[in-house]
């Protein structure tokens, strides 16, 4: 049952050569063959190249040449990151035949470290959604309850890890798209500081909010994967010009006297009772471990969702303008379209995008249009600054803030698809950190009465992923939540 292990358990076996990367990779594919019909985590599998990559990793290990901590570990990639010569669909009809001619920077980094690419995972179309239900291909089911959603938009990545169909995966987080599905699938998911991981090759949704991060079985794996993918990239002007610290060095440390703030605005009416109890229990646990717990106020929290739904769609409306049927991807055909540029544009975008994507493009186009810009976009930017300032103030006093990741456990498939506002609110606790650009993790903190996992969110100051990992690891090691398995 190699595929059920964590990366750090497997790394030991690979280095001791008790297991080969090829065996491991084949075992994962065998499991995918049995499981993914039911879960639907993957859009594309790249078995042939994966086996080649695994063989190469085995060679590296055998020759003790260029072996990194995660060499030979199979990983799943969210289908919005470009891997050269591999289909990159963003779960959209618009890109259902798009094959990028280049690698995203994270992909290069993963390859340099000898990780093995299993395939591309399902997601909400262009990462717009919180349930992976807006994928144009299929829904992904939650491994803990196949009638429930896995969360989104990185639902495929989270479900793949939770169902042992991948040892590790990477996703992208614009408003909670890593942390919320990690929470719903009972795994660890982290959004690093904005700029920590290069966005080059990540198909943009909202450029000032998007950030790539790890989805893993536990905190050790998260730290190891973060170490591989982070770092300055000259191809991304917004990437941080600073060396990434040695994240592993923050593990296995105590958390005595670490000051943890509990933002009162995150324990609102409407939050699920089980979630509230689990998170409060987790806070008690942290206190027992020596942390100093105190309440804190982030007064502008209530405006975060509204602010986000102005800024993100505005940027998206421009980012998605390139899908016009001219150069690549879907192009509408037919009478009145073939010889008419405007008709071609209109029909291509009408037919190529799904409803949620079109809703956001329209929102963004509207808020940027003349006469509305000041009232919406400009004002939202101002509120964004206020939200940042709330956090700045809090981090003057606290090392870490602790909150629920999501107000509820995974909801039922179809439950919120007709109610976009309800869907948007499921990201209420994750959105503020994207607006501020702060790092945050979600890790398991218990199961609800129906056996569904719930997540604890730890938010850190800028560039302080290390401290987040320290607290997360200490919490994880003193609990058994991460050992519960979906299947």
């Amino acid at each position: 049952m190699k595929h059920t292990l964590t990366a750090h358990e497997l790394t030991k076996l690979l280095i001791s050569r008790d297991v080969s990367s090829e065996e491991l990779t084949r075992a994962v594919y065998e499991h995918i063959g049995k499981t993914d019909k039911q879960i639907g985590a993957y859009i594309t599998l790249t078995k042939d190249t994966a086996i080649e990559q695994a063989k190469e990793a085995d060679k590296r290990i055998k020759e003790k040449r260029g072996v990194a901590p995660l060499t030979g570990i199979p990983i799943a990639i969210k289908d919005n990151m470009c891997v050269k010569d591999v289909l990159c669909t963003c779960a959209s009809k618009m890109l259902n035949d798009f094959v990028p001619p280049y690698n995203a920077t994270v992909i290069n980094k993963l390859r340099e470290n000898g990780l093995v690419f299993l395939g591309k995972t399902n997601m909400d179309e262009f990462a717009m959604g919180s349930s992976t239900e807006t994928s144009c291909f299929k829904i992904t089911r939650n491994p803990w309850d196949t009638n429930a959603i896995p969360g989104g938009s990185s639902g495929g990545s989270a479900a793949a890890v939770a169902s042992d169909q991948a040892i590790l995966s990477i996703g992208s987080d614009t408003g909670g798209s890593i942390r919320q599905p990690a929470s719903h699938c009972g795994i660890v998911g982290m959004k690093p500081t904005y700029g920590r991981v290069s966005r080059y090759g990540l198909v943009a949704f909202a450029s000032s909010l998007d950030q790539i991060g790890p989805l893993t079985k536990d905190v050790w794996d998260c730290a190891a994967l973060l170490e591989v993918i982070s770092g300055y990239d000259p191809l991304d002007s917004t990437s941080l010009r600073m060396d990434s610290p040695d994240y592993m060095s923050f593990l296995n440390k105590d958390i005595k006297n670490i000051k943890i703030g509990v933002p009162k605005e995150y324990f609102i009416e409407g939050i699920d009772k089980d979630v509230e109890l689990a998170v409060k229990g987790a806070i008690k646990k942290l206190e027992k471990l020596g942390a100093i717990i105190e309440e804190v106020s982030l007064p502008h929290t209530e405006y975060a969702v509204a602010t986000y739904y102005i800024i993100a769609p505005a940027e998206a409306s421009a980012n998605l303008a390139r899908y016009d049927g001219v150069k690549y991807g879907y192009r509408a055909k037919g009478e009145g379209v073939d010889n008419d540029l405007l008709g071609m544009y209109e029909n291509t975008r009408k037919e190529g995008f799904g409803a949620e994507v079109k809703r956001r493009i329209m929102l963004g186009t509207h808020t940027l249009s003349s006469g509305y810009y000041d009232a919406y976009y400009l004002k939202a930017q101002k509120v964004r600054t206020l939200i940042k300032q709330d956090f700045d103030k809090a981090f003057k006093k606290f090392d870490i803030l602790v909150t629920p990741t999501s107000p509820t456990p995974a909801f039922k498939i179809g439950e919120k698809t007709d109610d976009p506002l309800q869907m948007y609110l499921s990201d209420i606790f994750t959105i503020p950190t994207n607006l501020a650009g702060l790092p945050a993790i979600s890790l398991p903190c218990g199961l609800n009465k129906n056996g569904l996992p719930m997540g604890l969110q730890l938010i850190g100051d800028y560039f302080d992923e290390g401290k987040i990992l320290q607290v997360a690891h200490a919490f994880e090691q003193s609990t058994d939540f991460h050992r519960s398995k979906a299947i």
Binding site: P101, Y102, A104, T238, R322, D324, L341, T365
Partner: protein, 477 residues
Amino acid sequence: MNYEPVIGLEVHVQLSTKTKIFCGCSTNFGASPNTQTCPVCLGLPGVLPVLNKDVVQRAIETALATNCNVVERCIFHRKNYFYPDLPKGYQISQYDMPLGENGWIQIKLDGKVKKIRITRVHMEEDAGKLIHSENSEDLRSRVDLNRAGVPLLEIVSEPDISSPEEAYQYLVSLKQILEYLEISDCNMEEGSLRCDANISIRSVGESGLGTKAELKNMNSFKGVQKALEYEIIRQEKLLGKGEKVVQETRLWNTDLNRTESMRSKEEAHDYRYFPEPDLVNIIVDKEWVSKTRRSLPELPQARRDRLKNEYGLSDYDVEVLTMDKRVADYFEECSKYFPNCKMIANWITGDVLAVSKDRKISINDLNVSPKQLGELLGLIENGTISGKIAKDVFQDMVCTGKDAKQVVSEKGLVQLSDERELVSIIDKIIKQNPKPVNDFRSGKQNALGFLVGQIMKETKGKANPQVVNRILKSKLS
């Protein structure tokens, strides 16, 4: 009623940086379609722009040369619109925070100097180019994205221009500055310099502005002038009839010499500008500005002043020599090899520029280096050849690239100044022409010219005319 035009010009100039503004692709003109492209300038999903610092450097130079204030922090915006030559569906441009603001340049018209204010100088990326099939069987249009991402500067003037002639002079002066900065080849036919014009008219003496039309599609400075002339008359006629000028974009039709309304659907743009989130603030600190200011080349006005003072040239010579920086450079280089600057100026403004214009090549591609021209003039000065022969020698040099001395010796053109030799030839001519000799002695001055002509004919033009004149006169007196 008497009307006066109010004109503002928007000039787009392609910068001759080695690489594009946001990627490493070459900016060379004329490569086969889509060969100078990469994922970034193709606007593929997932790519990000990285600003070419050289573009900022050139923009600062241009802003300083046009007396603009270089702002310390500026940003890029996205300008959103759909067109097949625009790969991302938006152009990365500058909007309300341009790099340079509030400048001016000087123009000269009919001896009068006028300042035209510059509103802004900003950076942006060029779009690609559509290639429309001319084959009626195949109506498809194709897209060439080699030009997409080539850096552009937009230089916008205030509506300070009050006639088509002034507009023309403004363009000439601006182009001169850009050429002196060596930031662009300013070739309007190749599209490396483009100009749009905003024009309205108003009753003389009125201070408010009339409704303006935006004119596009002019492909020469003269074209801009003609389009403005046409437009003034068109607007005057409309107002004269009591009709209104419609605010719209009009295209200059070069074949029919008229402006034509563009369909309004295409111009009803709301560009939905917003700050480009993929790029960070551009910080131009004081040190960068002052360093650039110190390294600026001499600009046209300064050069005119200097040439006049340093070489004692006339206004006319200075004007002609500085029109093209390369000509002024040529002049100054030549003066290192030949001391008589007035003579160099005469030659350059005369024979040299005539040949350059004739052959439609730049003075640098003339086959005759400044040093070679200096040597040629030296041969005139020391009497080796006459000025007249020198003109033929110059033509020869242009064709062959040979040195003046080589041409003169190969063709045996050395001037005959040896007195003994000349005396015997003169004696022979006097003997052969008794009538003209008598005519001259009886007071007919033209007869002397005839005799000199005979002597020149005898020597195949090589006789030194001064020496001939002197000897002949003394023999006949």
